[in-house]
Symmetry: C2
Subunit: 343 residues, 2 copies
């Protein structure tokens, strides 16, 4: 049995004032001015009784939960998070930190069925939601009904209702490919997870093509290796690449976790990186510095992405911004040891 928690009433009794007064000093309303003396008396009572406000009660009346939902993609429907990709951990870490500083908590959750999440959002009275990744359009449409501020991260959903934050994926793909081309590579494999239309990967592919075109290199379907964005597929792609008859001398993998798998797959098949094949990744997660060779990759500022996602959602909740925000964070290429100059 839980011990009975001390409520605002107890504090009121202790301080010899009404519960309204307690509420006022708690929220230090500007409208209601309370005498310093009363404030002190209340403060003391609160401290003495060890009073902690009940947020359920508060949110019941104020319609504010101070809770932000974070939706992270799952490996498969109804499965665990994709946390083996360090990107999500790094992102979440940053969101949580920013939210905490502003007095918000994070409710994290995968999504059984997309429908279900909307229920959760309403159940819990989420003040805002940060959604990472791409989901069926129907999900976004339903989400709009909730009237909850939402930030979409790395989604190319163009709906005017949502805030969005992402990077210039196309430019990133371009930079990666161009870097490789400038190092003398012409046959460049493109290795990626699902290329959903108008998604992160499809834009990176566009950038890849941009660079090819700029340098007068013909695009070759056969150099596309499409699977899943995970380590295992990277290995598979690396193995295929090692035995390819297409003469690739380099590969652009659209995620570091993939790139690292590619390197592994390559090595397992007797090829060295970068001596035999050069590899460029994407994201610049922690991993990129950890592996050997360390990874030349397209850097995006993951922490900043998380920070801004949190900031935008909170500002919207607090009515500090009313208009829609669309943020594109810069990318650049960071050269490490996985690319060889073959000029």
């Amino acid at each position: 049995m839980k011990k009975k928690r001390v409520s605002i009433k107890d504090v009121a009794r202790e301080a010899g004032v009404s519960i309204a007064t307690i509420s006022y000093v708690l929220n230090n309303k500007k409208g209601e001015s309370i005498s310093d003396e009363t404030i002190n008396r209340v403060r003391e009572a609160i401290k003495k009784l060890n009073y902690v406000p009940n947020l359920s009660a508060r949110s019941l009346v104020s319609k504010r939960s101070n809770l932000i939902g974070v939706v992270i993609p799952q490996a498969e429907a109804g499965k665990e998070f994709m946390f083996y990709n360090p990107f999500y951990g790094e992102f979440l870490s940053s969101v949580e930190y920013e939210a905490r500083k502003k007095g918000f908590h994070l409710l994290i959750s995968g999504t059984e069925a997309d429908q279900k999440y909307i229920q959760v959002a309403q159940n819990r009275g989420l003040d805002g939601i940060i959604i990472v990744g791409i989901y069926p359009d129907s999900f976004f449409q339903e989400l709009k009904q909730c009237q909850i501020p939402i930030v979409l991260v790395d989604s190319y959903c163009s709906d005017h209702y949502f805030h969005s934050i992402g990077i210039n994926d196309r430019h990133g793909g371009y930079l990666a490919t161009k870097h490789l081309i400038e190092k003398g590579h012409r046959k460049i494999a493109f290795i990626s997870g699902m290329v959903k239309e108008n998604g992160v990967n499809s834009n990176r592919l566009l950038g890849y093509k941009d660079a090819l075109e700029e340098y007068g290199i013909d695009f070759d379907e056969k150099l596309l290796y499409l699977g899943d964005t995970n380590f295992e597929y990277g290995i598979k792609a690396g193995a295929r690449l090692a035995n390819s008859k297409n003469g690739e001398t380099a590969a652009f993998a659209t995620a570091d976790i993939l790139a690292v798998g590619v390197i592994k797959g390559l090595k397992e098949n007797g090829l060295r990186v970068p001596e035999d094949i050069s590899v460029v990744g994407f994201d610049d997660v922690y991993l990129a510095r950890i592996t050997d060779p360390s990874l030349t990759t397209v850097r995006q500022n993951i922490a900043e992405k998380g920070r801004q996602a949190a900031e935008i959602i909170i500002q919207t909740i607090e009515n500090e911004i009313k208009e829609k925000r669309d943020i594109i964070l810069p990318v650049d290429i960071v050269e490490r040891d996985s690319v060889k100059d073959i000029n």
Copy 2:
């Protein structure tokens, strides 16, 4: 302005019954039996109105929030999570999955000051808390006051109040060291983060000593490299190791993330792994398979740890278990490519 949400009253009106009836079918109380016809009528009304219960209201009266708090260590006080160590991501992923299946949500949060978290727990009416890592004893003592079910993960707090789940760290340390010894190594560095008394690392160190003793090898303080459990310190330790005058031929790092840093530091200083120095890690996170060489390491089942942590806390919440649980998950050594047999 948020559109007014439909409440239980609206459903009652729609279905032509009282709000109590709605509540009954919602919670399908065994005590109260409702006629099938009414149930159906209510169900339809719910569907028609798109009614979603308000959990704040519910938890206000029922004292149940269906929220589980997860406390994850931070890099430094008031900073981001230690999510660069993949251990936490993998753990959290598993906890969330299990909790979600059972209808619970996760509130994740770092802890500004330890005090603050207790406030959060009370603020939100957390039904249970999963705490990963070691905290000051005063924190645990205060936590007890809350009367909330708590599972401690990887803590050696012996307080009878808490459930605990962990692994046999000492045995793990023993296995790692023994493995190295059996491969012919005698000068084995012990590389670790802080060795807090009665913590995970101190137990692993105990196991290290056990193995040494078993094989009649003298323990040598000089082979201890103590810093932080992160990649950077691993590099530093690896560098020191490479220039050591102590003749180490192997190292046991108490976390994979550390081990991977060690390998990096070694390589940067011209040594090869495992040819020149063998390395054993601990955890068997995803990373261990990713790096080159892949890491021989002490495996613990992180997903299972998360699953059981969630299971225990939920069973306690639902009063399915009343007694205290202390779970020790097994460890074993998984041989990969970072150890050389020098016999």
